[in-house]
Symmetry: C2
Subunit: 333 residues, 2 copies
């Protein structure tokens, strides 16, 4: 686990989009974000208080989180100066960069000398078990997509926030770098060795109170040939009670695969349910989350209404409408 709260490092971000990890932390876990640290020329701004390392330390921040993508895949000399100073100031460092902190000898040396931790959330730090398929107590919900990057993480985050607001027992379970940095822990599933994928998800979603829900972050798609194995490991390791179908209706083809059409929601429902029943015979599809960001409001609402009528399930865009109706569906199980 990464120690919270954080100081969010925005570096010399060329634009707001480059800081989307930091934005995610601020949006979903504002209590984890004490302030932001910006270097000269930084073009991103989260609207948090700009702090020096010493100010953030005094305000209680424990970890400096690199909340920005780096240019060219290398940690620059300018960044290094800040990272080294942060270690010396007593911060741990956390990063989802491809360029691992642990591969930088100077950072490793300072971290060892100061007794601080370097968290590279892109690679696993746990020896996961092989899945044993045993039924666990508590309930689990998983979003499965017609494609990659259709809003599965957003959906789970929005449902988790709604459930907390209602006083329901809920935990978002991160399976990707951004989710891990936002919440401070999770499994970087795309980097787990094949034999341990399902076991890592069992480990992530252990026995819990009967009325507790794990909102498991989905990955990939059963219909995306590059990553489908990861999606199936989530279904079988997560043994979900509830599935949410996630879709982006303006996508012309599967992400990165120009020759592959998206499946219909019906095809996804049937395939995902049949496979989910292997691990949990009570699994059911409870709702549909549609990312309508590329549609005008009227078109989006009309599309959602059509899906809802066709599929007989609540269909919402949680960004436009909130996740209340999806949570209602969970609560009805």
């Amino acid at each position: 686990m990464i120690q919270t709260p954080y100081l969010l490092f925005l570096g010399d971000a060329p634009d707001q989009l480059a800081a989307k990890v930091a934005q995610g932390i601020k949006d979903w876990r504002p209590e984890n974000a004490v302030g932001q640290f910006r270097m000269e020329g930084c073009q991103a701004d989260l609207g948090l208080v700009d702090m020096t390392l010493a100010e953030a330390k005094a305000a209680g921040a424990k970890t400096l989180v690199i909340g920005v993508a780096n240019r060219g895949g290398v940690i620059s000399t300018a960044w290094k100066k800040v990272l080294v100073a942060a270690l010396e100031e007593g911060f741990d460092l956390a990063s989802g960069l491809h360029n691992l902190l642990r591969d930088e000898p100077d950072l490793v040396a300072v971290a060892e000398a100061t007794g601080r931790a370097l968290h590279d959330v892109r690679v696993p730090d746990t020896a996961y078990p092989i899945a044993d398929g045993k039924r666990r107590t508590g309930k689990r919900c998983l979003a499965v997509g017609t494609d990659c990057s259709v809003g599965k993480m957003y959906t789970a985050m929005a449902m988790d926030a709604e459930m907390r607001a209602r006083g329901m027992k809920s935990t978002f379970r991160a399976t990707g770098q951004t989710g891990i940095l936002i919440t401070g822990g999770g499994v970087p599933l795309d980097a787990v060795v094949a034999d341990f994928m399902a076991g890592s998800i069992e480990w992530l979603t252990p026995d819990n109170d009967p009325d507790h829900w794990d909102l498991i972050e989905g990955q990939g798609s059963l219909f995306h040939v590059s990553f489908s194995g990861v999606s199936l490991a989530l279904i079988h390791g997560g043994q979900p009670d509830a599935l949410i179908l996630a879709h982006e209706p303006t996508r012309k083809h599967m992400r990165g695969l120009p020759d592959y059409d998206l499946p219909t929601l019906e095809t996804l429902r049937d395939a995902a349910l049949a496979l989910a029943w292997v691990a949990n015979p009570a699994a059911q599809v409870v709702g549909i989350s549609v990312n309508t960001q590329h549609m005008p409001e009227a078109e989006a609402l009309s599309y959602l209404g059509g899906v809802e009528a066709r599929m007989g399930l609540p269909a919402v865009d949680p960004f436009r409408q909130g996740a209340a109706r999806l949570v209602d569906a969970l609560a009805a199980i």
Copy 2:
């Protein structure tokens, strides 16, 4: 690739079963097996010529293959002496042991000094790409199982042997340790990082002649919750034209999962086909391979006849009956 032919190291095998990797090499690639090396007390015998290292070298052997499981998971001092002598004699070493050769400093030192290679086939030695899903030329066949360890490798090996005997163009594509040692190359799929599973299978089964068949070694089962993701990566990375259903009818539950029933052959067929069509809309199930080793002959034949009538597909036990009818089915595509 591991250099062939091999001298098969049987060490101090406590019984014949402990030498099953060596047995597999001798059964399926006898041309790769120059001789066997047995230590004092060895209780296994492949019926090959016993050779010293010098004799095997003179007979053309290039690699000493550890064809036996080690006791207690460690490479013993007695084995070490032979392995070091083999490196000094000019052999490469190849092993599928959990205890990696590369983790033994003395072996590494001698291998470096002598310029020999240490092949640990349990771990990948290649940076595999992410799958791109592009259609490849040539044809591919994959066995999918109702469970793990039901005879998928044996089926593919037997079909490959039959196809070679008929003069058809065929390549067995290994995806596990034993298959890699038998053939000298392949992908240790269970040890590949999640994001690259399907890509590793694309890499393993590249463009080929239109009338060439890759016989891809299956792994796991779509219905085995511990390893299903690996099975799906094979289906989507392999984009098979032909699927063989593999089954062991006396299995009481899924291997290692006492609470999980095996799926029916119909359930497996429907699930595997629907998923295979994502990568290859022409995919079809062409036959059924049944491991009847735990049934008396008459019961086995009666069972096979029943499956054949029920499923409308050739159903054979390739160990009892050979793979001819499965190959006939492939040739008819």
